[in-house]
Symmetry: C2
Subunit: 306 residues, 2 copies
């Protein structure tokens, strides 16, 4: 049996990973919105630091009903559209379908479970710098691996997940399968400081890993580590902070996704990047004071259009 994939949201992330799978010959169906006509006609082209490639013809769709049920749904939507999944997911699901949520933040699986009861969910943590730079045009700048973390899978689902992971790997996408809470919170250690501060301070990662900002970044990361430890990821250690700072220092100056959202006047992912983890940590007895201040400042920026 050839496995079918639906890519829900063909932007920098969905376009790149879906493109890799399609390039390797998999059945990949791309859901598109504004770029649908263009991509149906011209396909996708990917400029990538791990090798450029073009897909002159791809399976392009503008409606989930036309895609139909698939084996694997890869959700690459911003969490600011999370509510849409209650209507978008069901037409794509067979009883055995896996849903990989390549989305930022904490609490997205719980929300999708609420919206689509029974869906078999996998967290997808993408470590990638990639952006859509025009219709059907993806610019993949660096990194490009995924951590998959099963959220509510049965033993049978887990076997399927391993096969899916192997298909990604064989397509040129490094994949690790790991513990759910650990995976989500590890990503949050990077996401929570860098996304918010890059908006608040109108700067890029290079400024944030330099003195004096790096002290604030460390404080914020420490809050995330402490929250993680009481929220199901006791194995996340403070030593991870140095690794994150160091790997960010190796990157060229980078604008995190929330900074791009801010710059392009798109809604920011404040809910899942900040509000949910902060309230989850609080419920577990852990205050994230500085993180809460970022949330309050971002909410002000959004409300007052600053």
């Amino acid at each position: 049996m050839k496995r079918s994939y639906a890519i829900v949201g063909t932007g920098g992330v969905g376009g790149y990973f879906g493109g890799r799978l399609a390039l390797a010959g998999h059945d990949v169906r791309f859901l598109l919105h504004s770029d649908f006509e263009y991509v149906r006609e011209h396909g996708l082209s990917v400029k990538s630091h791990s090798g450029d490639f073009a897909l002159p013809s791809v399976q392009a769709y503008s409606r989930v009903e036309d895609i139909g049920p698939v084996d694997v749904v890869v959700v690459c939507l911003k969490t600011t559209s999370e509510g849409l999944l209650s209507t978008m997911l069901p037409p794509l699901l067979k009883p055995t379908s896996l849903v990989i949520l390549i989305q930022n933040g904490i609490g997205v699986e719980a929300e999708v479970e609420r919206l689509v009861p029974g869906a078999r969910l996998v967290a997808g943590l993408a470590f990638i710098c990639s952006a859509k730079v025009g219709p059907g045009k993806i610019d993949h700048q660096f990194y490009g691996n995924i951590n998959l973390a099963p959220y509510n899978l049965s033993p049978d689902d887990l076997t399927v997940l391993d096969e899916v992971a192997e298909e990604f790997r064989a397509s040129g996408v490094p994949i690790k399968v790991m513990d759910y809470a650990l995976a989500r919170w590890k990503k949050a250690v990077w996401n929570m400081p860098f996304n918010g501060l890059s908006v608040l301070l109108r700067c890029q990662t290079d400024t944030l890993v330099a003195e004096p900002a790096v002290n604030l970044v460390r404080d914020l990361m420490r809050e995330v580590v402490h929250a993680a430890q009481v929220c199901g990821a006791p194995d996340l250690k403070e030593s991870f902070i140095d690794a994150m700072i160091e790997s960010t220092r190796q990157m060229p100056p980078y604008s995190p996704s929330m900074r791009l959202d801010y710059d392009f006047h798109r809604p920011m992912e404040i809910e899942y990047l900040y509000r949910r983890p902060i309230s989850m940590a609080r419920a577990a007895g852990c205050e994230m004071a500085k993180m809460e201040m970022i949330e309050q400042a971002l909410s002000t920026i959004e409300a007052a259009k600053l």
Copy 2:
């Protein structure tokens, strides 16, 4: 005996209060820097919500040595120039001179005591919106009262301070004399949230007293009140927070002084508005987490010229 005054720093604050004293006929000697020539020739003119006035001729000086010892030194310099006082104050002092420090922040008296041992210091908390809008031109927008708070005065000094306060009052400047720590920390309840946030969020007071920012402002004020309670001002109560929010809501949209410093590329008063009170509170066992984050963000803005 006619009491002599020196105004050290003839900007929006020094120009207004010194101008009121001079208008009432007192011996007031103004220290000027860039505006010295202009003011010597044309005097001061003050546009004021409590009545415009002009002083076509004032005692203008460019060097403290030319002013000589006076009875009362009123320091209206930014704390970013605090170090200058070690050389500027001594030529102005008689053994009995009072030094009123109309400056923002916490810890300025301790610093001046270190720089000029033996100086008789009074904290001056100005509640005023006033700016220098051109050489010798002051625009006084609203408020205009001072709280004076003796720092290290003898009983004889206190008697003199009461007379000085009376001379201010008779000149049209409402004055209260009050407890030192309470006076400084009360001002900090307003200063610490509004100054930093107006820079960080590039907004004015009106945005900060509206939802959702006002929740952050309240959190920050609560940190100041708790710090005050362990730093010598146990009588400062949380109920003061509502009063501060309410009175700020009565003001027209306003840019606090740090926002003006930021906009005009002047150094910001981070040291005395944030670092000193935060470390004083920490030494007393009280963490000001969100306030520390403001300090870290402002330090980054200053260091990276954001």
